[in-house]
């Protein structure tokens, strides 16, 4: 049995309860359990499309669940899941942004770069398809490719989350492009074209490095360019005030 802490603003929909005990064993299931028990609360947690509303943040024992495993984060006996509102606004007309954990993205990029450079230096071509698979699985799940490494570092308290209001979609697209390039590199290795394979791998290393060290995400820039020309599916416009692809500056 774990508990959910309901913020003051939502207690009007839980009959005044600030702590609700739940049986669920994952964060997602716990929210569903809460929504079933308090139907009036459900419309405030989820949009009509079933997505968590932008202002809803979830912290498990003081840790943002986005830096854990999101809705799949397991709940153990005695855990306390806190729903905390993100209070945000401003006069501008804008598309809604989400809090994107750039620490998770950067950690993944660093591990990915290290793995690919190690593969090249030691001529271990088999590492390339592994990284490609992690990137493509990450793209499918909408999560960073080396999220597990980030979670391990978070557990050790070596790294702190860096939540920046941003669009997650371009980062996901960029990850997919990188994964696809490495998949193509794998095909080249199998076809006996190691120069082509390493060439493509180095393209991914260079783009990852550009993003990691200079804060410029080429895949995101391509996403925003496709958005500008009206490509279906590329619905998010860049956050205002930045060059498309540039990392939004870190909150102080």
């Amino acid at each position: 049995m774990s508990s959910i802490r309901v913020p003051t603003a939502l207690r009007a929909y839980t009959g005044g309860q600030g702590e609700v005990a739940v049986e669920a064993v994952t964060v997602g299931a716990a929210l569903q359990e809460l929504a079933v028990r308090f139907p009036a609360l459900a419309t405030h947690l989820f949009s009509p499309e079933g997505q968590l509303r932008p202002y809803v943040n979830l912290f498990l024992n003081d840790e943002d669940v986005r830096s854990l495993a999101g809705e799949h984060t397991p709940l153990s006996e005695g855990d306390r899941l806190m729903i905390l509102p993100s209070v945000a606004g401003g006069w501008t007309m804008s598309t809604s942004l989400k809090a994107v954990d750039h620490s998770a993205l950067q950690t993944s990029m660093a591990v990915r770069m290290g793995a690919l450079i190690a593969a090249f230096v030691t001529d271990q071509t088999w590492l390339v398809p592994i990284v490609a698979a992690l990137m493509l699985i990450g793209t499918a799940r909408g999560k960073p490719d080396f999220g597990f490494a980030y979670r391990a570092l978070r557990k050790l308290n070596w790294i702190a989350p860096d939540l920046i209001p941003d669009n997650p979609e371009p980062h996901r697209f960029a990850l997919g492009v990188g994964g696809t390039l490495l998949a193509a590199a794998t095909v080249a290795f199998i076809a006996g074209l190691p120069v082509v394979g390493w060439g493509l791998t180095w393209v991914v290393i260079a783009l990852t490095g550009l993003n990691l060290f200079a804060g410029f995400c080429v895949g995101c820039a391509v996403y925003y360019w496709l958005n500008r020309i009206g490509m279906p599916g590329f619905i998010k416009a860049p956050p205002p005030g930045i060059i498309p692809g540039q990392r939004p500056s870190r909150p102080e």
């Binding site: 202002y55 509102p85 993100s86 945000a88 606004g89 006069w91 209001p165 205002p240 870190r250």
Partner: protein, 145 residues
């Protein structure tokens, strides 16, 4: 629903907006709820952690600041009843962005800060279906709390 704020607190909110101008200033309103009326008894100015280049038109309060504010409110026997923020050189009406991010139940007090001077304030609350912000009656009381 209505919001009652003392003139002293309104002045404090105005000052925070003026100090942060041309950036947006934001914070929380602590107080009491009595039926349909909310009375602000204390204001808690908080850091605007939005990306610095965009703070002229956006604000974001760290969720953990909300947790601490709720704990603090509980400690002094109050509730976090709402949010205040400034609109530098813009009217005190909610934007689409305000609507998208609005938290239900909270009252949103928006103060227009024109050329560095706090002017008009209006209070708003999210309609339960999240479709719009509805204006609330704002009463500024001259006497001290």
């Amino acid at each position: 629903m209505s919001l009652r704020v003392s003139s002293e607190l309104m002045a404090e909110i105005g000052r925070h907006g003026e100090e942060q101008y041309p950036e947006e200033a934001a914070g929380l309103l602590l107080g009491a709820v009595d039926g349909e009326t909310r009375s602000a008894r204390r204001v808690l100015p908080l850091a605007n952690v939005f990306d610095s280049e965009q703070r002229g038109r956006r604000y974001l309060i760290n969720p953990l600041d909300i947790l601490h504010a709720e704990d603090e409110a509980e400690r002094v026997g109050m509730d976090v009843v709402g949010v205040f923020h400034s609109h530098p050189d813009h009217p005190p009406t909610p934007s689409k962005f305000d609507l998208d991010w609005a938290v239900p139940w909270y009252v949103y007090l928006i103060t227009s800060v024109r050329e560095g001077v706090a002017s008009e304030s209006r209070a708003w609350k999210l309609q339960d279906d999240h479709s719009q912000m509805i204006e609330e009656l704002l009463t500024v009381e001259q006497e001290a709390r």
